[in-house]
């Protein structure tokens, strides 16, 4: 081995090291660049999401009277576990979770199939019209529906009068869950149908064509072949709507102008009222924490059972 070759080898090694270093530098630069691009988001995320959550956790560990706050550990949580008002507030979310969410996904699926059927006969117009309610803010929806169900100005009033129900009140406390159901279905079904429809058109045509050749009808194909394939979209839809149900606020908040509702009609209303009407901020943040945990557990449960089902299939 001559000196030259040795020299060459070390040179090569040196080069390789250099290249590696350069590569690493490049990588570092790329990482820094990426973070620079992310910086505006990260900054907002840290100050507007992480910090409030951390502060909420901290507040939930304090007792409060006016401006005076003192550390009490988990006492707020212990009180909430025994606060019947908090647990009663979960009745409406539970009703929505068990009735409204499945019903809406079912109706939305039917509508999505109708979209598919009407593809060549103005389906896009229906999609547009059904999507519209979703674009209206919840508070506005609440105001409009409270007019529709009000006793003096309801457009149903003349009809009810004609049918001999002139004395009956439309908007009463016992009717409220049904009214909430109507409002929420009206606002969100079109959007849900749209999401299901997008998943529907991505199902390869071969699946349904084969069945149709074997003599299956449209609805048979729909329910026997396509619905099982839509599971991937049903699960996130269920989770999102479950979260919406647990946090329901706008609609009952507007309706309480027309019918007396307790401050704890829904968990979100109870939290809001505890904080802002009664000034019990720390108690309210502890309730918020518990609600977040409940939401997480429900989402987690749905995901896990879905994953199990998929594995067994």
């Amino acid at each position: 081995m001559g000196y030259d070759t040795m020299n060459k080898k070390t040179n090569v090694k040196m080069d390789q090291v250099m290249i590696k270093k350069k590569k690493r530098n490049k990588k570092a630069v790329a990482t820094i660049k990426a973070y620079l691009f992310l910086a505006p988001f990260l900054l907002l995320f840290a100050t507007m999401v992480i910090y409030p959550i951390a502060l909420g956790v901290k507040l939930s560990l304090y007792g409060q009277r006016g401006a005076r706050m003192w550390y009490i550990g988990f006492q707020n949580f212990a009180t909430i576990l025994q606060d019947p008002k908090f647990w009663e507030s979960l009745r409406i979310p539970l009703f929505l979770l068990l009735v409204q969410v499945p019903l809406m996904i079912f109706i939305a699926t039917l509508i999505a199939f109708s979209y598919e059927r009407l593809e060549k006969h103005g389906g896009s117009i229906f999609r547009f019209i059904y999507y519209l309610p979703y674009t209206i803010p919840g508070i506005v929806t609440g105001i409009i529906w409270s007019y529709i169900f009000s006793d003096g100005m309801s457009p149903f009033r003349p009809v009810l009068d004609l049918l001999g129900y002139s004395g009956t009140k439309i908007l009463t406390r016992p009717h409220l869950p049904a009214i909430l159901l109507v409002i929420i279905l009206w606002a969100f079904t079109g959007y849900t149908a749209f999401v299901i429809y997008s998943a529907l058109i991505s199902i390869p045509k071969e699946f349904s064509e084969q069945a149709q050749l074997d003599g299956a009808t449209f609805w048979q194909v729909a329910f026997k072949i396509k619905v099982p394939l839509l599971k991937g979209v049903f699960i996130p839809l269920f989770i999102f709507n479950a979260i919406g149900a647990i946090q329901v606020f706008n609609e009952p908040w507007m309706l309480k102008e027309l019918v007396v509702l307790p401050s704890n009609y829904t968990p979100a209303m109870y939290i809001y009222n505890a904080a802002f009407a009664q000034g019990r901020f720390t108690y309210a943040s502890a309730m918020g924490m518990i609600l977040a945990v409940l939401t997480f557990l429900i989402s987690f449960g749905v995901l896990r059972s879905a994953a199990k089902q998929m594995l067994t299939e």
Partner: protein
């Protein structure tokens, strides 16, 4: 001539001394104070105030009803303005949370009583500490539809007996969609005012203790008498303050509404089509020989504990709510029909006159009379919003048919209120009697 001059001089000096007593000089450095208030056009009074006290500038901010904002600032420990507008019924709640600071140093009790009357101490002070001054009066007033009264041959009732008699008559002759008298489902202050009007009370504060006794004889009689009318369908119950309700006032489906004096302005703006049809009167009396009245709403201006310059704030709230120049502005621009201050008397002739909306009636005079019948007072429990909630829910249950007799609501409500006071950590409770 000399004597005349001397007398004039003494008079002028006397008057200025007298005035100086009410409105002391500002001793501090030039400053700017802030105020939160939802009444419209407070700026006219502020401009006049700044002419008299050139070293104090007032920055007025209007956030509509700002209790939630104030609660947040209070809990945060900073952020309250120097001067906060609060309804009398909510003031104890804020007092209790330490939102205000006493201003006795600049407005002693004697002057306060001279300017605002003894009763107002129940709305602006506790334990001898004065925290602010009262602005408008919420004297309970009867608003009635003259057109309906004429059409169905009714007379203006003076006593509760006449009132109920007229209601029965109206229900017989008028179509079923018309109501004689509709009480609110909820609106706790309205129901307290009903008991207050009868000369009674439900609770009070005395010597560091909260007294709660809803089931006292006066309150029981009020709930029993009104309750019988609801049970028999002579009086009605409905949700107030929503579009439906304003619509019904506009259309004239209710003949009588009892509400605070300030409601005169609400009617004008929310039921404009009913112009000329309403009149105001003294609410029907339980004992016409000894007339009394109650307050329903009305707001005071309080100096907050966050204020860095309580002297300037105190001078301001006193001038704002008692100086004739300011009272005139408040009446003219802020549309407040009647102010609490006794000095309102001085400008009464100037501000009163026929009111077209009320068919040319001189309503300021009637409302001022209604205000002067308020001759008892007491301090509201510091849980106004909770009291409202528990009563609203009970009345809604009655409307939904779950409670059969209206009068049964009173003891149930009392129980709920006592429980809430306990839940909120008040151990200084005395139940079953009043001081």
């Amino acid at each position: 001539m000399k004597r005349f001059l001397l007398v004039t001089l003494i008079l002028i000096l006397g008057i200025s001394c007298f005035a100086a007593d009410y409105y002391p000089k500002y001793s501090g450095k030039s400053t700017t104070i802030t105020m939160w208030a939802w009444t419209s056009n407070e700026n006219y009074s502020i401009e006049e105030f700044e002419k008299v006290y050139p070293n104090i500038k007032v920055k007025w901010e209007n956030f509509d009803v700002h209790y939630e904002k104030a609660q947040t600032a209070l809990s945060a420990g900073s952020g309250l303005p120097d001067v906060l507008m609060v309804e009398y019924s909510f003031a104890p709640q804020f007092m209790d949370l330490g939102a205000f600071q006493p201003i006795n140093k600049w407005l002693d009790e004697k002057t306060f009583v001279e300017l605002y009357g003894e009763a107002a101490l129940g709305w602006c002070a506790a334990d001898g500490q004065i925290y602010g001054t009262p602005q408008d009066s919420g004297a309970l007033t009867m608003f009635y539809r003259k057109d309906l009264f004429d059409q169905y041959g009714l007379t203006v009732p003076k006593s509760m007996d006449e009132f109920i008699e007229q209601a029965k008559k109206f229900k017989q002759v008028a179509p079923s969609n018309l109501k004689y008298y509709a009480a609110p489902i909820g609106n706790v202050q309205w129901w307290i005012a009903q008991v207050w009007k009868a000369g009674g009370k439900l609770y009070d504060y005395h010597d560091g203790k909260w007294y709660i006794h809803f089931t006292n004889p006066v309150a029981k009689e009020v709930f029993a008498t009104l309750g019988k009318c609801f049970d028999e369908g002579i009086f009605d119950l409905e949700m107030w303050w929503n579009a439906d309700w304003f619509n019904s006032l506009n259309q004239g489906t209710t003949a009588v509404v009892e509400n605070g004096a300030w409601f005169a302005e609400w009617l004008k703006y929310n039921a404009p089509e009913s112009e000329g049809k309403w009149r105001v009167g003294i609410p029907p009396q339980w004992n016409p020989a000894k007339p009394t009245n109650a307050m329903l709403g009305g707001s005071g201006f309080y100096v907050t504990s966050h204020s860095k310059n309580p002297e300037a704030a105190a001078l301001f709230v006193n001038w704002l709510n008692s100086h004739p120049t300011s009272l005139k502005c408040l009446h003219k621009y802020s549309n407040l029909p009647v102010m609490v201050s006794s000095r309102y008397e001085e400008v009464l002739d100037e501000v009163s006159g026929p009111d077209a909306f009320f068919g040319g009636q001189n309503i300021v005079e009637s409302l001022w009379e209604a205000h002067h019948l308020v001759n008892t007072t007491f301090i509201t429990l510091p849980i106004s919003s909770n009291m409202d909630e528990s009563l609203s829910l009970l009345i809604q249950q009655y409307v939904d048919g779950k409670i059969k007799r209206f009068a049964d609501i009173l003891p149930m409500w009392e129980k709920e209120v006592i429980n809430t006071m306990k839940e909120f950590g008040y151990t200084n409770l005395v139940t079953g009697k009043l001081p």
